[in-house]
Symmetry: C2
Subunit: 449 residues, 2 copies
């Protein structure tokens, strides 16, 4: 499709170009626009019928949005900004530079401008900040026939019409009616008789993660949002909720790899920002790891008398780090999905102890046998003592690593910090130190150093 | 709510219990049932009205489902199994032990049994395996009024009625009509005139990840699934697609922490399974790390003459591992979200080189200064040479780590392997060896060893 558009553009065959674009999906048109110089972008965009243009505008990336608005006439800006959904318009205002925002707000209708301002006033992680203010509402004493008339009249501009909301004269939420219910009821039935008054709703100030959990628990496609006076002010649709869920989990994973989370895609993020996002944690972890070095240097005498000890350090540190990060990954996931709460700390610790017992036994047995047979018969080394030293160390390290890996995220959650920070990188650094201390103390006790 | 149910149960107040349960949401009832002994579970379940019972059944966890079916009469099993959606029934058959499956299939209607068997025949990661076979279909020559009549008659049993599918006499997919379109059209309009014939569909054999990407790209709430003869056989709804997306990403993250992915929740997984899922990779990584040890032991002479070198090993290994895991995490994410493709390898490498330049410069400068001032004036140590050795090593390690971290996932993808396997644990082990070799070679060149 891309090639066909390019070809028609080169031929300046506007008629055919218009026909081709009109038959395409907004997402595909957006893909074409994103990959072209901005003169072509605005030229192609102007060939689109109005409705398709507005829809396509919400699919293109923010660079394209910016260059389009820059080249738009005031009339074009006005038409787009008043046609897209209010929450998309508010997102746009939030993302664009000041000059573009000025042009947007100048051309927005007064009603639209108010809506944008109101949406921008909600705290950034709140339900209010992700809701849409376009929804269909009925009064309880309407008939099904009247309800259909309202949908026919206003529905096409609303983000979802499949769940409609019943409110009283003070805009208090009374219940919900799905279009399914309407379709399956008599035309003369009263809304109050068919509505579901047992409605799950959230408050504008609720955390957006809570909203997502409610929607997924109750399998809701659109959840109503009320203000502190229980007035219905908006709804959150399932696609927006899923975006939040994905974003929050991706943030966790960035943190779990010692990075500052970043919403932009890999290539869109500048080299400088990439470096900055990674450096914060790298510096901290590098300096922390120095501590492990200081501790090693206290065992110089032991190293000097049994130099082979040094060669086990990487294996012991890595195994401890891997065990710790395995258990912290599972616990962070459990906390994020509400499968685990801080009050489960002892239950988790007990379970991890059992796992560590099995894992530690297998790892230390295999490693012990490997060392015994590898060093048997070598001069200066008692292979049995060496095997015993390493095996005992591994067993203890596995135990402590899993304990640290499972407890730190829980403690973080308890202290209202982000559990995702207590992941592999930090845990590895802590476990390194623990591993060194255990290893050399066992060596000092067992080996002739 | 939980306490109220317990209280009423103890009082044996069945009438009140029935009323309370009937007013609750299926998800909340399911939560009550999951946390009770199985005699209570079946007692409470039997108090539910039929429709609510069937819906609640799909919300309870699989242990509860199993104990319920075990205690059900044949009539109860029949009522549930024929009332839930066919795809839920197929999932149930897949999860339950043989004895329970036998009871389910015995009581399923012949039509239901066929549907279950057909669904179970699709490969496990295919579109066919996650589709639902309940959908509303029209013929192109129907009027909007006739379409509404069909929805009213059959719609209540269909998983989604908001998008309806237009098929010809051979069940070939011709287009889609949303209920929104129907509501906004004249009763006399013909379906073929209002349908959208530019339909995005997938094949039963398509990978389920591809389905999710199509749905998210085009913002589709339900995508039609056709067989190899282009006949419409099912649809995939957005909630099922999102479950797949989340599951696939969670699998990635498990693999990225060197674990075998596991769908069950933390506590539901047995200690033995936990240990098994973790051991596979731990063993492999432990034995690989041994290689690093072997390499260290080749530098015994250097260590003996400048023992302080050993104390930098943990810091160098950790910094390299962290850099590598940062870039691999970002690349794995980019590959999973299709932001990066294998053909971008050079572009990525170029970008990472720039980032490594910045990150490496900062880390080696800070560390060099720290070492220079810490060891200045100490006997036996030339603090400038030592600082230079460590700084140079860090710079090179950062460079190589980011290169390894970004290339391995891309290579894996190119070789049709899972990029998530090329994450922190494996990369750390590889980088450990690289770090040791670089460090001691630079030390041998600069320091008097």
């Amino acid at each position: 499709m891309q090639e066909k558009i390019t070809e028609l553009l080169n031929e300046k065959n506007m008629k055919e170009l218009k026909a081709t674009l009109s038959s395409m999906k907004p997402a595909d048109i957006a893909e074409c626009l994103d990959n072209r110089p901005s003169e072509d972008t605005v030229l192609l965009f102007r060939l689109l019928p109005k409705e398709l243009a507005a829809e396509t505008f919400t699919y293109v990336d923010s660079d394209t949005q910016q260059s389009l608005i820059n080249m738009f006439t005031d009339e074009e800006t006005e038409s787009i900004i008043n046609k897209i959904f209010a929450d998309d318009a508010a997102d746009l205002v939030e993302e664009m530079p000041a000059g573009v925002v000025k042009k947007i707000l100048k051309n927005a209708s007064p009603k639209r401008r108010n809506a944008i301002n109101e949406l921008l006033n909600y705290p950034s992680e709140s339900a209010g900040s992700i809701m849409t203010i376009e929804f269909v509402n009925f009064r309880p004493n309407m008939s099904v026939e009247e309800a259909f008339a309202i949908i026919r009249k206003t529905g096409v501009h609303k983000e979802t019409i499949y769940t409609c909301y019943v409110i009283d004269e003070k805009r208090k939420l009374l219940g919900t009616v799905s279009v399914k219910d309407l379709l399956l009821s008599d035309y003369s039935a009263k809304i109050s008789d068919i509505m579901d008054s047992n409605t799950i709703s959230v408050n504008t100030g609720d955390d957006r993660e809570f909203v997502v959990k409610q929607m997924s628990k109750y399998d809701i496609m659109a959840i109503p949002v009320t203000d502190n006076e229980e007035k219905l002010v908006g709804i959150i649709t399932v696609d927006d909720a899923m975006d939040v869920f994905v974003e929050e989990r991706e943030e966790d994973f960035a943190k779990m790899s010692a990075m500052v989370p970043n919403e932009e895609s890999y290539f869109k993020t500048s080299t400088f920002t990439h470096a900055k996002n990674r450096l914060v944690w790298l510096l901290f972890l590098m300096l922390s790891a120095t501590l492990t070095g200081v501790i090693i240097s206290r065992y110089e005498a032991a190293i000097a008398s049994v130099p082979i000890l040094v060669s086990f350090i990487p294996m012991l540190m890595d195994t401890g780090g891997n065990c710790g990060s395995q258990s912290s990954t599972l616990i962070i996931r459990g906390l994020a999905l509400d499968e685990i709460t801080p009050s489960d700390a002892f239950k988790v610790l007990f379970k991890e102890a059992g796992i560590a017992m099995l894992v530690g036994a297998v790892l230390s047995l295999i490693n012990g046998l490997r060392i015994y047979f590898m060093y048997r018969g070598k001069e200066d080394i008692n292979s049995f003592s060496l095997a015993l030293t390493v095996s005992l160390t591994i067993f203890l390290i596995v135990f402590l690593s899993e304990a640290i890996g499972c407890l730190l995220p829980i403690i973080a959650k308890k202290l209202k910090m982000d559990p995702a920070l207590m992941a592999a990188p930090l845990i590895t650094t802590i476990i390194d130190t623990v591993a060194i201390v255990i290893f050399f103390n066992i060596a000092l006790a067992i080996l002739p150093v």
